[in-house]
Symmetry: C2
Subunit: 326 residues, 2 copies
Amino acid sequence: MQKIRVAINGYGNLGRGAEACLAQFPDMELAAVFTRRKPADALKIKTAPVVHVNDAADWTDKIDVMLLCGGSAKDLPEQGPQFSRMFNTVDSFDTHSKIPEYMAKIDASAKKGGKIGIVSIGWDPGIFSLMRMYMGAIAPAGQTYSFWGEGVSQGHSDAARRVDGVIGAVQYTRPLVSAMERIRNGEMPALATREKHTREVFVVAAETADKARIEREIKNMPNYFDEYETSVNFISLEELHEKHSALPHGGNVIHTAKTGAGNMQTLEFSLKLNSNPEFTASVMLAYARAAYRLHKSGESGARTAFDIPPKLIAADAPDELVRNLL
Amino acid sequence: MQKIRVAINGYGNLGRGAEACLAQFPDMELAAVFTRRKPADALKIKTAPVVHVNDAADWTDKIDVMLLCGGSAKDLPEQGPQFSRMFNTVDSFDTHSKIPEYMAKIDASAKKGGKIGIVSIGWDPGIFSLMRMYMGAIAPAGQTYSFWGEGVSQGHSDAARRVDGVIGAVQYTRPLVSAMERIRNGEMPALATREKHTREVFVVAAETADKARIEREIKNMPNYFDEYETSVNFISLEELHEKHSALPHGGNVIHTAKTGAGNMQTLEFSLKLNSNPEFTASVMLAYARAAYRLHKSGESGARTAFDIPPKLIAADAPDELVRNLL
């Protein structure tokens, strides 16, 4: 059987995660890794050819699905529309407020190219989004709550690193267990931002830096920290590397609802991830199957997880799914 | 906007649950309740006309989707093929080993009638099946475990009631929390049946009955109890009615997997249901939307939850889902 030829575009945490996980998807093979670095082969990869992104057009016949592994802030708004015209794509675009606009662009370019572009795939957006949708559709007289953590937020770690005098920083998001318990017990509270999560930052400061100022600037940073109970801990560079190099994450989607005569029903989905990038990449790889299959059946345009029949991401044939999992 | 006209076929726990929950689905209305009782109007229902099943053919133009609320053992094998030719149907057929054969029959009859028949909808099979599929597709190097309870198993309660000298019985299935903890902690144990669940039966015995014999017969009953750690408690009829009339249930699907370099990832979905029939009925109502929409788009044949694009069960339009839930 012909394997699905997958390309990785962008070789950061996510791209490396995809490379590490691809062997677990036996119907796929890594066809190429695309990079912006010059020369491309400055990137040392043994498992597949490394290609400069500017040469992508030469690869349209050699790739079935391209995973866009760039960031949502700067890379994907440009790369998504560009590459979804040439390739079936899967991305993890996660700037929630801009998804409709991004999706419209992907839809236009993918349709022009006769390709499928699956957007915002990962665990949130992605699997958590699916859970929110299923839960709300099934038990409509209820409330859905999303909690994130405990885990490393790369966006917040980056924000702390931008503070003057900070050499290194890692930020952990933690859910407030007491809030989760209230919801599980059937309350449907209105929770302010600071009532759902806390943030803890581990900071390496320059020797001469004013730690009190750094702490103040982090805690008061708008959009990132000012609405949260934030704690700041100063540690050494050694400790940062030793204890805070992993990228764990996870979270919970909890839905409580009343059905019929007022019976409480509680639905919960949780993830505990020792590697956030590897898990996100694995979700993208599963949806690469759907991109491949939808394209083969003649469809084109942008899709989200809401659009994709679940069976299209499974390795097994539909009759096996029915026999073994239904 | 025209509401989806839903019919309930069978007025047991599940049918009554559907009636109780329908008001929470604002795009639906109850068009009729079908019953085998004679005369049909022996059934006192104020919310919709009551119709004898033999007159179903007169109602094909007045109903968009029929919920088949009969049992899997005797009702559905006959009613499914019969009604899926006349109506779009949703059922909760749950005899796992017979689903492929049942589905083939529904597929044939629904295609003949140009209708959609969605089979095996509820929480297991149904939502739990979906979770097993998504989890396995996303993190293939892992194991999925399903636990049920704590909750009332109607099949096991019925089985206990069939023992000579038993006047009433309710059976609770309980998951072994220690087994769940082992899985959550990253073990992937091979678990025997008795290592996953225990069973507890509350029995009302006839005054003259030999309780030791009843206990022995229940505990040794093949297929139902002999493979489990089972406890039997004798109580009064009053206590049975007072404390054991509710139908709670629930369970957990837990998947642990390793990705890439060996990073442990744990996915879990859980349900805690105060009313099993109302929840099952709610899932069926959500999938009635999908049956209606698929039929409207010209499709026909049998479908499972694996086949249905998630958005088709949601009340909101796809662009609202993207904006609010993705």
